[in-house]
């Protein structure tokens, strides 16, 4: 009996234990295969018997659920606040930048006009001054 065949038979046996009895019924085993795998089948059955699902206490489930929802609510509120602050901050920064650029442009234009006027004055003949 090769390794692959053993793996498949054991998997089918486990499926049979966990709610699909047809899985193992579909596998045809020789007597030799059956006797060779018997200890592992028995071990799987012992495992199945020794590992029943357990239930958490209702109080624990309820308390943790309530606490998680409270925390989720606070987390969502915090995220919203952070997003709002970020948005307001970005808007304020944008406004400041716009104002600064307008002021900068005015200063630049005034400075250029002044420089031009000064240059004109310097270029004018002395007599005319």
């Amino acid at each position: 009996m090769n390794e692959k065949r053993m793996t498949e038979v054991l998997a089918a046996h486990a499926d049979g234990l966990t709610g699909s009895p047809a899985a193992i019924q579909q596998v045809h085993m020789t007597n030799e295969e059956r006797s060779r795998l018997a200890p592992l089948f028995e071990l799987a059955e012992r495992l199945q018997h020794s590992m029943p699902p357990v239930q958490p206490s209702a109080a624990f489930v309820q308390n943790l659920g309530k606490d998680l929802i409270d925390k989720a609510r606070r987390q969502i509120a915090l995220t919203k606040r952070v997003r709002r602050i970020t948005l307001i901050g970005a808007a304020a920064l944008g406004s400041l930048l716009s104002i600064a650029s307008v002021v900068g442009a005015i200063v630049f234009v005034v400075a250029r006009l002044r420089a031009r006027a000064q240059a004109r004055t310097l270029r004018a003949p002395a007599g005319q001054a």
């Binding site: 390794e3 053993m6 793996t7 498949e8 054991l10 998997a11 486990a14 499926d15 234990l17 966990t18 709610g19 699909s20 200890p39 592992l40 071990l43 799987a44 012992r46 495992l47 199945q48 018997h49 020794s50 590992m51 029943p52 699902p53 357990v54 239930q55 958490p56 206490s57 624990f60 489930v61 943790l64 659920g65 998680l68 929802i69 409270d70 925390k71 989720a72 609510r73 987390q75 969502i76 995220t79």
Partner: protein
């Protein structure tokens, strides 16, 4: 009534705190079972289940749906939480025989029952000495009654790899139990091939 999908609930967690509550109710039992069978204590299972869900909630905004079920995400967190717990406490795992007694209902002779409990305790102790991945496989298979394909999805492996891991796990577990029964020392598990 149509049950809302996990993906829809995950998307809704960004704006609706109740959505995470629904996910929690859907999976709390499974995670509790997983942590219980990894620790053998109801108290520790409650603590680790709580830590798993707090961590999941904290990181859910980073969750990316790659086709794996949401339970895979939770089991991964639970696995890390349990590993950290074992590292932090460095506790030797003890089987709670009281729990086993509570769960068994067969009205048998006391001596036979005691022997059965002892055998179960030995078996569960041997399971807890397995590498975490093998323990997870046995829990998903026998406690959660999952199919190999589902286990493969949760553990991020192929179905064939799960079948093969199950086979190897049974073989090593049997060797371990045979060794314990004949009074040999506990073996060191080999994990390099997993």
């Amino acid at each position: 009534m149509h049950e809302e999908s996990d993906s829809a609930l995950i998307a809704r967690t960004k704006v609706d705190p109740e959505a995470f509550g629904i996910l929690y109710e859907r999976y709390v039992g499974r995670i509790y079972n997983y942590t219980y069978y990894r620790t053998s204590s109801h108290q520790d299972a409650e603590d680790l289940t709580a830590r798993t869900f707090y961590r999941a909630m904290q990181h859910i905004s980073y969750y990316v749906d790659r086709g794996a079920p949401f339970s895979a995400y939770l089991y991964r967190i639970a696995h890390n939480v349990v590993v950290n717990w074992h590292r932090d406490t460095s506790r030797r795992q003890i089987i709670s025989l009281d729990d086993l007694v509570m769960r068994l209902s067969a009205p048998e002779e006391p001596a036979a029952l005691a022997e059965e409990h002892e055998n179960q305790a030995l078996l569960l102790e041997a399971v807890r000495r397995l590498p975490p991945e093998r323990q997870q496989l046995l829990i998903l298979k026998f406690v959660e009654q999952m199919k190999n394909a589902e286990i493969a999805q949760v553990m991020g492996r192929t179905e064939g790899a799960i079948k093969s891991l199950y086979h190897r796990t049974l073989v090593t577990l049997r060797e371990e139990l045979t060794g314990v029964e004949s009074g040999q020392e506990e073996p060191t598990w080999r994990t390099s091939n997993e």
